[in-house]
Subunit: 215 residues, 2 copies
DNA sequence: GCGTCTTTACTAACCGGTTGATTAGTAACT
DNA sequence: AGTTACTAATCAACCGGTTAGTAAAGACGC
């Protein structure tokens, strides 16, 4: 799978070698791959897998389709690389704090506001890759570690035990994405009321998680 | 727009006239439209707008592409008709009960389990039609009425006022869809724990909303 | 330092299947 | 006869994927 190949390459390659190869402008494999990944991230976030266009990605990256198929094998391979890279950048960006889940949810909310393509990519993945077999180990490991952290806090009495640890974590993650997962018809209803400001929206997420934890 | 046209036609047409036209088997416009809409609902729910294939829809409906373009104008027009019909079937299927929002959320959860395509269609709509202009009046009206019901219950002291009415409604709706909006990596974490049974999952939704309302 | 050889990054043009959409025409009912 | 429901065949554009070929950068002998 091209995802594995990409990761191995980046991991094995010496930084100096990569740097020495990047001297001449306009002929840098790593830079080209980066541009293709960036362009593909925007394209897939906007249009999904089926709706994303390989030609647009190549053009926006100031490259061409053959490079995409050389580096990533296929359109699906390119999406795999995009999604895998996004997950690696995301899972550790907001470390969990089991002793202050409301703030944790607030920080997750912040990260979604700051990087809106994350939730869109995850949603496309959910819809277009459901039941598609291979789950990402990096995400599974991260989730397992978070569940463990919640479970320990529950056993120590620092968190309520009303929900099993995995469920509690899921509810927190789900509430964190509250403001970026509703249909436009709902946004229209809420936009001309209170909770229109960004600060207020963050407060809603924090308060909702806090309410979830109240004994 | 074909959506409006469809609604007007169905609204104006006399039931007896429609029935008299449906005598001969194999040549019934309403039945053909129904089969096309049903097939299109399955297709779009599974693959989205960009991923959905008009040929597959025509074949599955035992019809042909020309009929689709005759009745619905375009692929997008067909999706509009599908989404509009789904919304009409859905908005009133689960009437809101401001005095028992946890049970309301439970019933919404039930409806999502029973008709999984509803959330998928809504998510495709959210992703592929974001900022696409025309919001559905039927959904806007339904939302506004629900917000009003929540607001009245709050003013009467039967609901906490921690959240504005529109926000509280949004949180309830959002929590109702908890189990059908997560990426497969999360499902994998929770599937081999407790909360694996359908009854337990419903309980989680009800309990989460109840926690939200606790003073 | 110089010429050439090989490898690597890149490009443009193209291919074949697919897809949304059209059209001309047939069969059935009034 | 006229209208309506339907069908088969076809089209032009599109799109994922391929291929043949170019040019730049390092390797190596001298």
């Amino acid at each position: 799978m091209s995802t594995v190949w990409l990761v191995d390459t980046l991991g094995v390659m010496n930084r100096d070698v990569a740097a020495s190869k990047a001297i001449a402008m306009g002929r840098d494999a790593e830079a080209t791959k980066r541009r293709l990944l960036d362009a593909a991230t925007r394209e897939f976030a906007a249009y999904g897998i089926a709706g994303g266009r390989v030609d647009r990605i190549a053009a926006e990256a100031r490259s061409n389709k053959a490079q995409i198929y050389h580096y990533f094998g296929s359109k699906d391979g390119l999406f795999d690389a995009v999604f895998d890279a996004m997950c690696r950048e995301t899972v550790d960006a907001v470390p969990i704090d089991p002793d202050d889940l409301p703030e944790y949810a607030g920080r997750l909310h912040d990260s979604y506001v700051e990087r809106p393509w994350v939730q869109r990519l995850a949603t496309w993945y959910h819809l277009e890759r459901a039941g598609g077999g291979a789950l990402l180990p990096v995400v599974l490991d991260s989730n397992a570690a978070k569940v463990r952290a919640v479970a320990e806090a529950q056993e120590a009495g620092r968190l309520p035990t009303r929900f099993p640890p995995a469920v509690l974590l899921g509810l927190v993650l789900h509430l964190s994405g509250f403001w970026s997962s509703n249909v436009p018809e709902y946004d229209a209803v809420v936009s001309d009321g209170s909770a229109a400001s960004a600060a207020h929206r963050r407060e809603v997420v924090v308060a909702a998680v806090a309410a979830l934890l109240r004994p």
